[in-house]
Amino acid sequence: VEDRTATTEKVHAAMWQPTNLLGQLTVKEFLFSNDYRVISVKGILASLLILALGGIFALTFRTELAYPDIQFFGARTYMGLMTLHGMFMVFGFVIPIVLSVCYYLMPKVLKTDGLLWAGWLQASFWTLIAAVALLIIGRPDFTWTFYAPMSLRVGGNLVWCGYVAIVLVAVSEFLAGAALLRNVFAWQDSWKSLPLLGWAMLTEGGLLILSTPALALVGALLLTDWLQLTAIFDTARGGSTTTFLWMFWFYGHPAVYLPLVPAIGILYTLLPRFLGRPMWSRQSGIIAFVLLFVLSFVVFHHHFQPNVTRHGWVQRFFQIMTLLIFIPSTLHVFNWIASLWQGPIPISARKGIPFKFLIGAIAMVIVGGVTGYLNAQISVDSDFIHNTYWVPAHFHAMFLGFCAQVAIAGIYFLYPYFTGRMYHSGLAEAHFWMWQLGIFSKVMLMYALGMANFPRWVVDYLPLPEWVTAQFWLTIAGYLIGLGFALFVLNVVSSASRGRPVGASDPWPIMETPLPDVPAPTPVWKETTK
């Protein structure tokens, strides 16, 4: 089976010219240009900013959680930090960053060299920025899932900022989804030849436009309930919390695939690019995208399984559907493994930081996915897992371990195309290992705490030995991840002016063996800066 994504850069070498894009842009162009490269790099930088915000918040409450008892702040501050951490990371970082990377890759992979409806993507970007600004102003403490009626009671006078931000997030995602679909449907060739990134974007667009109306409705109804115009969710006035759960999680379960699907698409694009050969199977990738799309809408009940007991067959249906998710996920993962397995891995890929991050991401998606088997069981979920650290462990493995790492791989890969220079490989190497160590130990410690029944959303806890030790090392792991991110930012900023210029040549040549007369793909920084 021929894979066009593998040969895209050869066919369209002109499009893949590295340029100093960021150096040539004026600030005004950077902020308002509808060029897809600008929208992409702007989205990436904004997402990284939001990652910095969410990360600082995470490190702040991790510091508090390092020891039992209250050291620095109480529950209100903790809940505020936790809420903003969750909302920034989910809505502001992990979804936009993978989408932004795709905004750059898609026109090149689909050979359009431009995005249709780029104005809507621009609007999508600024809507999201407005939502983030509102969240910083409002500082709600209603958790990132804002369950009613709790979210109607807490938060104070500025809580409306949170509700409006929810609506804005939904609008932003809807616009992005519509634009993605528009660009995929502009594909002129046969559907059989649509690259896997295109299939990913098709899936993503469908998920976005079908699920986000529910989120917008939830945000709007929370606002009207809060203003006492309606009583949809407010139980004290005759509303229904079950309605809230079903509406929110109708968005919420597809939402957890919103970062996953583009990340898979990026992986399908970069993996052949580094291996120099097509993916093992295109067919299984397409089938998996379609299955993932369909199943993502019929599993959401598992998010609130133990809270709301339903008729046995309703529960069983959702459990079976949840378990069926293993089929598309496994199709994807085995496709990647088989692609890696079917031939030698070029030395250029082995030494390339983006490829390393891809491998780390595949490892973490296996960790998160295999343990997800336990989450999917109603009995295990109800009795042991629900509302313990097991759940954050699962989605941190997926969001941070997989989606964020694929996005970081994408950023390292695109770095020469944005700046015309190569990043500093030593710093990048340090970043890579800090993240692998940090993310793996963090996720594993969270799993361990989950098995020790450590509850979510607590600022203080009993000094049980199995909790104290794990929480302490979890904080250390968090700092490690934070340090890695700081190195990454330093690398991104400083290499733009001090990195090795890549010129017009392909910055990612595929080399089977290191040859003495060919410069190494990732030379040492000191040599280049002299």
Binding site: G23, V27, L49, L53, F57, L84, A236
Partner: protein, 358 residues
């Protein structure tokens, strides 16, 4: 340039957001519910003002009648309760619920009358009759028990040594109706009958039986004494103990899960906590179980306290206490821990008395 601007901007934004969130977080805020359904019902006149429920004209209308299916349910409960209910009205059913009327929550105000156990409503009625302010039109529902009760109230076993119990009854229903102490005593045949067996310890026993507010002394079994093994000898002076049963609680179960006693026996239960987390020890009669079951089916009554013959709401690990009970009627009595899920996990057991021994 843009990357550097971005980095500076990031630092500034992070600093500002961190300052806003950590240094000057919004005040903790918990809004009260603005207008509850109950308030709406009050406005609509569906809920009478708290207080004189029995005497209020408001309650004559059908809102507070016992629904037909509930009446059937209650009848079934009575049948299940067996002889104790059919024959012996001298020991009414559950008397202790009267204190529910004092509960603070407006939503529950209606409950003591509708909920249930008709004898209680009837006895309130009887009280008002004897106080001379009764109005037959206000009757919620008439039942053969009323007349039965009246017959027996001619010859109550009145023990003048029961000021504690009478005071509580008088407080609850007598205050407004100026019911005399004597009359209020007549309301409590079950109490007086049950209490008559151990008049020495009555002050203590009244507290025990009514311990958590709902206080039911049910038909068939009465608590003679409760305390630690040290106190017990002084509490049970002059009482002949027929049997001693040892009950150990643990996660998850009671050991033994069931045992038999004879009618008329005085049984000492030695209850020890062999587990590792706090539990509860609760003793209930069949009718009490029915009442709980019945209420579970009525969503609006879920929050009500359940009545037990005896309840010790927290038993800590390692704790041992003793209970002396007298069995008056044949039937099934259950003991359980009603902490959430504990009973479902197996923390229950039963005492079979009389002919239906296992």
């Amino acid at each position: 340039v843009i990357l550097r601007l971005w980095a500076v901007f990031t630092v500034v934004i992070v600093a500002v957001a961190w300052y806003l969130t950590v240094i000057v977080p919004p005040v903790e805020h918990q809004a009260t519910t603005s207008r509850t359904l109950l308030e709406q019902y009050r406005t609509d006149g569906l809920v009478p003002e708290p207080g004189h429920l029995v005497l209020s004209d408001e309650i004559g209308h059908e809102t507070f009648d016992i629904p037909e299916e509930d009446a059937i349910h209650l009848a079934a409960a009575r049948r299940n309760a067996g002889d104790a209910m059919e024959e012996s009205t001298d020991v009414g059913m559950t008397m202790g619920e009267s204190s529910m009327g004092e509960m603070d929550m407006g939503a529950d105000k209606m409950v003591p009358m509708t909920m249930t156990e008709l004898p209680e409503a009837d006895s309130i009625e009887t009280a008002t009759e004897s106080a001379g302010v009764a109005d037959e039109d206000h009757a919620i529902e008439k039942d053969h028990l009323v007349s039965d009760f009246k017959e027996h109230s001619d010859a109550p076993v009145v023990d003048e040594d029961h000021p504690h119990e009478m005071a509580s009854v008088a407080d609850e229903h007598g205050a407004d109706h100026e019911t005399s102490e004597q009359e209020s005593t007549q309301l409590m045949p079950g109490l007086t009958n049950a209490g008559a067996h151990s008049s020495r310890n009555d002050a203590h026993h009244g507290e025990t039986a009514g311990g958590h507010g709902s206080g039911g002394i049910e038909v068939g079994i009465s608590i003679l004494a409760e305390g630690s093994s040290d106190e017990m000898p002084s509490l049970i002076q002059g009482i002949h103990i027929d049997h001693t049963a040892t009950i150990a609680m643990h996660e998850w179960g009671y050991d033994p899960m069931s045992f038999n006693v004879g009618v008329g026996d005085v049984v000492k239960l030695v209850i020890s906590h062999k587990g590792s987390i706090p539990h509860e020890f609760m003793l209930m009669g069949e009718l009490g179980m029915e009442a709980v079951n019945y209420r579970l089916q009525r969503a609006d009554w879920n929050l009500l306290e359940h009545e037990a013959i005896f309840e010790r709401s927290i038993v800590m690990p390692g704790e041992v206490f003793e209970l002396v009970v007298k069995i008056h009627k044949p039937g099934m009595y259950m003991y359980m821990c009603m902490f959430p899920k504990h009973m479902q996990f197996g923390m229950m057991g039963m005492v079979m008395a009389g002919e239906i021994m296992m």
